[in-house]
């Protein structure tokens, strides 16, 4: 620690690593068939030159520099180089359409933008004139850009070469710049995807990020030998902490996949030791595992399930170091050689020492599945405004339905209205150019509203049930937490998304999106022919399955006094999958509840009438941006509900 105390800004850390870990790999990229690697020393030299180059092009301290693209070393170096000059990198979600980009770039008043390739560059050029502050554009991959003659368009390589000259002439330049960096100054600006309204720019200082990052590193004992795959959007705070900040703090190597569609294979090749993924990824992985096993020979399948059952019984205890009978341990060892280890290997998870999941609740059995394989998977609770860490599950005491205890140096309290508040080193500086939002989120005394409702359970673990503002009341006054219900539904592999309603209504009702992969596979196995999601959605058999799931949820709700009243009386299966391109989901695929409610008003009305079906016409956007519309008669189904009884626990568990 002591030696790192003075290292309170990113550039200082980078310089430090270049000295202490000169020969160790700092970053890799799967490119041209192999994992091209750069050592800390090389990265430092590159970044120095790059910074000088940017300086020459006129990037100044306090400027904002947009970063548009998927995880690429040069884009990470852009962050470092910008911080070198005291400028503030603003990574942007690259899969966003031009308008989305324009809003953020304009709002952030970026003077520079660095793009990954032709595709992104075209986007920027198309919105350039609407971003008056934008001066220079720099691109990483020159492919297809050779004929572009805009004179404010620069090839990364040229920028760095120009910088090299400067650095060569003025050897002290780099150190002067580095020493000038201030820990309390802004180091990065990240836009929250904003479940409601326009995205807001969260400004975070070197201190915010580095202290929290360092705390987590110490808590989890990460070190320079760890391996991380950087595959989540750079604009997302998680990636910034896990793949950038913590890499600099702990000195471990970050690897970038070849392309977004090779991630799975790259993950398998790399075999990271430190891994983060949102629940949906763990979920889909599990689904594919199960589907692939379906095609295995009978004996193999038997063996697989036999040992998976055993793992479910004993695996977690063994992982948590609880006492387990010798026989069970032996059985587990056999299972390990025959199933667990090979399976982990096949998924590229065999070397994982620490796995995180967060963002939304993860299904208990999904969570258990990975832990029972011996993967130390933990949930954490955090947000951009807190530089991620608010709460982490401590080793040894993991509970599927909580997010653990407050992170180091972080205080957490629950308001009377059930909202969770925190205070800590990671607390953000401000929302950029948005004092009022800043004020209403961040109190003078440093406490910050999370906007989530929840409570501490008996042993001090935090349990999140929903967005505070979404927690509503049925007309009879019983409280209903839509997210809580939706999650229970989504825990079924067959169900992809669910939207529950009931605030100011007489009873609870829900939209359901099934998982096309899982259900589609089921359909094939029962040779049910279908051409589209829509067709399958209307199928009575599908409805039957969904009804079973809904009633299972009702049963489990019936066991918890606070929510027993909010069981689902009526539901429907949506005729189309909720889609980010239609604005129904956020880029991090969270449901935009309000938007959906307005868009499908007729369906909701139907849910609260006695209709058994309802016609609806919906506009859709295709990948290529073209618009079209689909119409369907969505049928509505009743589900049984159950009286409250705590003893039904057992039943619910199934």
């Amino acid at each position: 620690m002591t030696e790192t105390n003075k290292l309170d800004t990113f550039p200082k850390l980078l310089r430090h690593n270049a000295e202490m870990r000169a020969k160790r790999p700092a970053i890799r990229e799967k490119d041209h068939g192999i994992w091209q690697s750069w050592t800390w020393a090389e990265v430092y030299e590159e970044v120095k030159a790059y910074a000088a180059g940017l300086d020459k092009l006129g990037l100044k301290a306090g400027d904002h520099i947009g970063i548009v693209g998927s995880n690429r070393p040069r884009l990470y170096w852009t962050m470092a180089a910008a911080q070198f000059l005291g400028a503030i990198p603003v990574p942007v979600y690259a899969d966003g359409v031009a308008e989305e980009l324009q809003y953020i770039l304009d709002n952030a008043e970026v003077t520079f933008v660095v793009t990954e390739d032709q595709e992104q560059t075209d986007k920027i050029l198309s919105v350039q004139e609407n971003v008056p502050t934008l001066k220079q554009i720099i691109f990483d991959d020159p492919r297809g850009l050779r004929d572009y003659d805009e004179d404010n368009l620069h090839d990364y390589v040229n920028v760095v070469d120009a910088g090299k000259q400067v650095v060569k002439k003025d050897l002290a330049w780099a150190d002067r710049m580095i020493d000038a960096t201030k820990a309390e100054k802004a180091s990065i600006m990240l836009y929250t995807s904003g479940t409601t309204g326009k995205p807001k720019g969260v400004v975070l200082s070197h201190n915010n990020i580095l202290i929290t990052a360092r705390n987590a590193v110490d808590l989890e004992g990460l070190n320079e030998t760890d391996e991380v795959l950087a595959y989540l959007p750079m604009a997302w705070v998680g990636d910034h902490i896990f793949s950038y900040a913590q890499s600099l703090v702990a000195g471990f190597c970050v690897s970038c996949p070849e392309s977004t569609d090779t991630v799975l294979n790259d993950l398998w090749e790399l075999g990271p030791t430190y891994y983060f993924a949102p629940p949906r990824i763990f979920e889909s992985t599990l689904t594919t595992v199960m589907i692939r096993m379906e095609d295995a020979s009978k004996i193999k399948r038997k063996m697989f399930h036999y040992f998976m059952d055993h793992a479910r019984k004993t695996g977690v205890d063994i992982l948590d170091g609880k006492s387990v009978g010798l026989l069970d341990r032996i059985k587990y060892a056999i299972g390990n050689t025959l199933v667990y280890a090979p399976l982990k290997n096949a998924l590229g998870l065999s070397r994982i020492r620490l796995g995180y999941t967060a963002g939304e609740a993860i299904g208990p059995e999904i969570f258990e599945f990975y832990r029972s394989l011996g993967i130390n998977l933990k949930q954490l609770y955090g947000m951009t405004e807190a530089s991620v860490f608010v709460a982490i599950q401590p080793n040894g005491e993991i509970k599927a339905d909580t997010v653990g205890v407050p992170a180091p140096d972080v205080e957490v309290k629950v308001e009377d209205n059930g909202e969770i508040m925190y205070r800590g080193p990671g607390t953000f500086m401000e929302y950029y150019k948005n004092p009022e939002s800043t004020a209403e989120t961040k109190q003078a005394d440093g406490w910050v509203h999370t906007g989530d409702a929840g409570f501490f359970d008996e042993d001090g673990h935090i349990k999140i049930i929903d967005r505070a503002k979404d927690v509503g009341k049925l007309n009879d006054g019983t409280m209903m937490a839509p997210k809580y219900i939706e999650n229970k539904l989504k825990f079924f592999p067959n169900i992809k998304e669910a939207v529950a309603f009931g605030h100011d209504r007489d009873y609870c009702a829900a939209f359901i999106n099934f998982d096309l992969e899982a259900v589609g596979n089921w359909a094939e196995r029962n040779n049910i022919a279908y051409a589209s999601y829509q067709e399958l959605a209307a199928h009575p058999e599908v409805y039957k399955i969904m009804k079973e799931h809904v009633e299972a949820v009702n049963r489990s709700l019936a066991t918890e006094e606070r929510v027993a009243g909010s069981q689902i009386k009526r539901f429907l299966v949506l005729h189309k999958a909720l889609d980010a391109d239609d604005g129904e989901l956020t880029r991090t695929s969270k449901v935009r509840r309000k938007f959906v409610a307005e868009r499908y008003e007729p369906l909701i009305d139907a849910l609260y009438s006695d209709k058994t079906s309802c016609h609806i016409e919906t506009e859709v956007t295709y990948e290529d941006g073209r618009k079209g519309s689909i119409s369907a008669d969505v049928q509505i189904m009743d589900a049984d509900t159950f009286p409250f009884n705590a003893t039904a626990m057992a039943a619910a568990a199934e």
């Binding site: 050779r146 004929d147 090779t262």
Partner: protein
């Protein structure tokens, strides 16, 4: 690979065929064909099936020896041209019905394209030392550039036999590019492709021409594609030259319209 300035892409004459007569056992395939190809241009040879397009290509890279006429390449006369000579002097080609090495992976197929650029001795190879190893690695890098260029990373190590038609065509192009040819002959590069694949292929052809400054001569009978690709077009019909000139000139030429457009559409 040599970069060229796109503005003045087209340079002086690279290859010319002069008064070519070719016949198989009395059957005339080509009659008094002459035309030239300039450095850096995309030149198309079109015509209905059986017009002698492929024969023309086979004369250029020496599979067929014409009874009359000669091929002039880089200011040197070849009477006749021979495949080996063609390869050495910088002419590469692809075939209408794909001629890949079925037993090898995509990577090996493309590596084979570097054959003439490797010089390691038998012993070095047997022991995998010295030049042999060095060459393997150097050329692998070059080949990877091409793989990246044609976006076939995903199939790098798949046996080409297992690839779908469109990809095989692309691998064959990659193999030809690996030779770093000055003149690239493409025999119906888009035959049997769907629209999307055709568009991709045309994009690659243009990219090759621009990025590496490779001169390209291609055969097509689908006129549409050719017209927006090529700088100049030669039209053959029944082994005779019908027209020669810019796409517009050619497509407005009456003989062509009769002989060609009439036939295929």
């Amino acid at each position: 690979m040599t970069e060229t300035n796109t503005n003045s892409r087209i340079g002086e004459e690279l290859l010319s065929v002069n008064n070519i007569d070719l016949s198989f056992g009395g059957v005339k395939a080509l009659t008094d064909i002459s035309f030239n190809i300039n450095k850096g241009e995309i030149r198309s040879i079109i015509g209905p099936n059986g017009a002698g397009k492929s024969s023309m290509l086979n004369v250029i890279n020496g599979f067929y020896q014409p009874q009359v006429g000669h091929v002039r390449f880089k200011g040197k006369d070849y009477t006749p041209m021979r495949p080996a000579l063609a390869a050495k002097s910088g002419i590469a080609r692809t075939f209408q019905n794909i001629a890949l090495f079925k037993g090898m992976s995509t990577l090996d197929n493309i590596m084979t394209g570097r054959y003439l650029k490797m010089h390691s001795s038998f012993i070095e190879q047997a022991l995998y030392i010295g030049r042999a190893k060095r060459e393997e690695l150097e050329h692998r890098e070059k080949v990877e550039e091409i793989i990246d260029f044609l976006e076939i990373e995903a199939i790098r190590k798949t046996p080409v036999g297992r690839l779908p038609y469109g990809l095989q065509k692309r691998v064959e192009l990659a193999r030809a590019l690996a030779m770093e040819p000055e003149l690239l002959l493409l025999d119906e590069p888009m035959a049997g492709m769907n629209l999307e694949e055709k568009e991709d292929m045309s994009r690659y052809i243009i990219d090759v021409n621009e990025q590496f400054g490779t001169t390209i001569a291609l055969i097509e009978h689908d006129m549409g594609v050719v017209m927006d690709l090529s700088d100049r077009v030669v039209v053959l019909d029944y082994g005779r030259k019908l027209a020669d000139g810019s796409p517009d000139e050619v497509s407005s030429n009456q003989d062509v319209i009769d002989a060609y457009l009439g036939v295929s559409h």
